[in-house]
Symmetry: C2
Subunit: 411 residues, 2 copies
């Protein structure tokens, strides 16, 4: 945690308003960290619905498998997150820890086990004592507060250099509702210490299936459109909770036109949080936006955009402030989606660099070089295939800082 704050960090943690029906407490568990809280407990009022997206990893952690089961019920009363140990690849011992934690949290919240959600983030493969989290939970009941958003965001941090929060309001069937979220992550994976976790809360009344449809759709364009190093964690989790305290008439389907403003606000919160993860990318010095247009489909556009975003050669060129568009051409070529060399157009910082299969006549690199020196780099790739497919992804550069953070010994 001695890492300096990312140069791309926001000026401060935003002020998150109270969301009726949501309370937090944090504490130190002694599992790994000293001098900071590393367990976050959220208690939710009865009637709270939940939606979630979980890692597709074939080696998912025990807490992820638990959440997958619990999400089938759609109701939530408690969330417990610990930082410092991922409880991943810990075998039957890992399952025992999940069971003990769920039991303690259910007792505290007065709910059924299936209404408890868990996440663990930290080192993989280190066994976690069955009661390591359960034993600190009872004492946390007294400290529950509606206002501890920043403390909650800080308690789930690992290699993060700043806590990440976001808030928006929306009008839903005539009522103003609030959406607050916080998250952690600074490598897209980094199974030691840099899993992506996100928790979003609203006072809107939205049935679980509708909530799930909204989250799945928006997740694809936000949390699933950022990458630091192309890795996927054993623990990646985003959960969205709706307490219903706003008292709006619950929408029956995700397509309900009353949801338009809520959908806009939810996407803004997810995007803000996802981009903050990139801004805290390990070793990052540049925030990079890559848009691909003119593709056969959105999926094709996204695959090409992610191939560019994950290319070590593109990422090191950006770190070196080098407008090396040849590396972008090569990434497009190997992405496995249709592209035509002589139609491809690449712009950096709004300046068209190549078209018709070659550098544009009279190309002046000076304004592009100036753009590359800034903290925000914009790359536009127009495949010009006549299709409607487009996608935007966000990433950061690859620097010596990344090697320093990930190439040093665990202990």
């Amino acid at each position: 945690m001695a890492l300096p704050v990312s140069p791309l960090a926001p000026a401060s943690f935003p002020s998150l308003p109270v969301i009726p029906g949501v309370r937090f407490a944090t504490t130190n568990s002694g599992i790994r960290y000293k001098g900071r809280d590393d367990v976050m407990l959220a208690v939710l009022d009865p009637g709270t619905t939940v939606a979630g997206v979980l890692t597709r990893s074939k080696t998912a952690s025990a807490p992820v498998e638990w959440c997958r089961m619990a999400l089938a019920h759609g109701q939530a009363r408690a969330v417990v997150v610990n930082a410092g140990n991922a409880n991943a690849f810990t075998g039957k011992a890992g399952d025992a820890t999940v069971q003990a934690t769920v039991k303690a949290a259910a007792a505290l919240a007065g709910c059924s086990p299936a209404e408890v959600y868990l996440s663990s983030t930290g080192v993989i493969g280190i066994p976690l004592a069955a009661d390591a989290i359960a034993r600190v939970l009872p004492a946390m009941a007294d400290g529950l507060s509606e206002e501890s958003w920043e403390a909650a965001a800080r308690a789930i941090m690992t290699t993060d250099t700043f806590p990440k929060g976001s808030t928006r309001t929306a009008v839903l069937s005539g009522r103003t509702v609030t959406i607050n979220g916080f998250c952690k992550g600074s490598g897209m994976i980094a199974p030691d210490m840099a899993t992506m976790l996100g928790y979003i809360f609203t006072d809107a009344a939205i049935p679980a299936p509708v909530l799930q449809a909204l989250l799945s759709e928006i997740n694809e364009r936000s949390f699933n459109s950022v990458t630091v190093d192309g890795d996927t964690s054993t623990s990646d989790t985003v959960l969205l909770f709706a307490t219903g305290k706003a008292g709006n008439p619950p929408p029956a389907v995700a397509e309900d036109s009353e949801l338009a403003d809520f959908r806009r606000a939810l996407e803004e919160v997810c995007l803000d949080l996802a981009q903050q993860i990139v801004r805290d990318g390990e070793g990052a010095t540049k925030f990079v936006t890559i848009t691909v247009t003119g593709a056969d489909s959105n999926e094709a556009a996204k695959r090409i955009a992610l191939t560019i975003a994950n290319s070590p050669l593109v990422k090191t060129a950006i770190a070196g402030e080098d407008a090396n568009w040849g590396r972008i051409v090569a990434a497009v070529g190997r992405a496995g989606e249709r592209a035509e060399r002589d139609k491809l157009k690449i712009s950096i910082g709004g300046v068209l660099i190549c078209a018709d299969g070659m550098e544009v006549p009279g190309y002046d690199e000076a304004p592009v070089a100036a753009h590359m020196k800034g903290k925000e780099v914009d790359i536009l790739v127009d495949l010009d295939l006549g299709g409607p497919g487009r996608s935007t992804v966000w990433t950061c550069d690859l620097t010596h800082g990344y090697i320093d953070i990930n190439g040093s010994y665990r202990s």
Copy 2:
């Protein structure tokens, strides 16, 4: 070219014997480099057959597209390779350069244009004058020699820190035949300056379709099983030429049992050359062998092995001499192939680290830590799914040296 020689380089360039029917000349073109030869010409006697494998990039270079066309004929008389400019993404001007070079080489060798093979390696997107190569070819005819193997290997280098050659003999239908090869490359892609090119020559008599079947099969386990940074170039090319001077009875099919020893020797040459590319990986300090067994198929095993090999987190951990097997677990989990957490077994340096979904009881990290300090790191992942699928891939670590080489400005 001021880079220090890789610490993983072989002690010296091997002594490559004459192969009757193959002669080389090299020269400096003035395209980019000073004080070294950067054009390689090979002239082959009439009757030489050829096989090749070319990049699958959708933005392949003009010389690659030329070779794709020429390979349909199966005959070769001349090969021209230049280093310093990839003639990729150079539009119609790039095609004009190919035409002019082919014409000059055909005149020199006294052959048809379809018997000329070209490769270009270097920066992408910089136009190359139509006669830049053609104008230096005529004067090279006088310098043709059967012995200039090392000079040829050196003339095609870009960011390579050492020339790469290999030789084997084999018995084919009672005759001893020779296989010589050389190649260049130090990033799997690196469109500036680090494309993979390989040229292999034999005096065996083998019809083009049989040669192609052998090369395609062996390429998959050699050149297609190494990775430095997961990128694929616009120019990757491997060509195999057979002059027929050994006078063996030509085999009719690749399955001919007389080809067994030739196949063995060809695979050894391809593997030796492919591994030398990894040993010259940009910034490499460790040579890493990753074997995956017990998979559903060889393809599944290879996809998992390459996911591990391309993980920046695995590669930086190896650079840091950290036996961080949690990162290997995570890479297996996200590879997109079937894996079962509780069956997975991971060994490093021959020591079993995890099984049954967790670290093995009493695991002693000391011998593994000692293994990680060496220059050769061996990782074995047994999926234990009961399938016959297995694959071995080779890669290197990801170090500050890689960032230095690729994060500095092109000029």
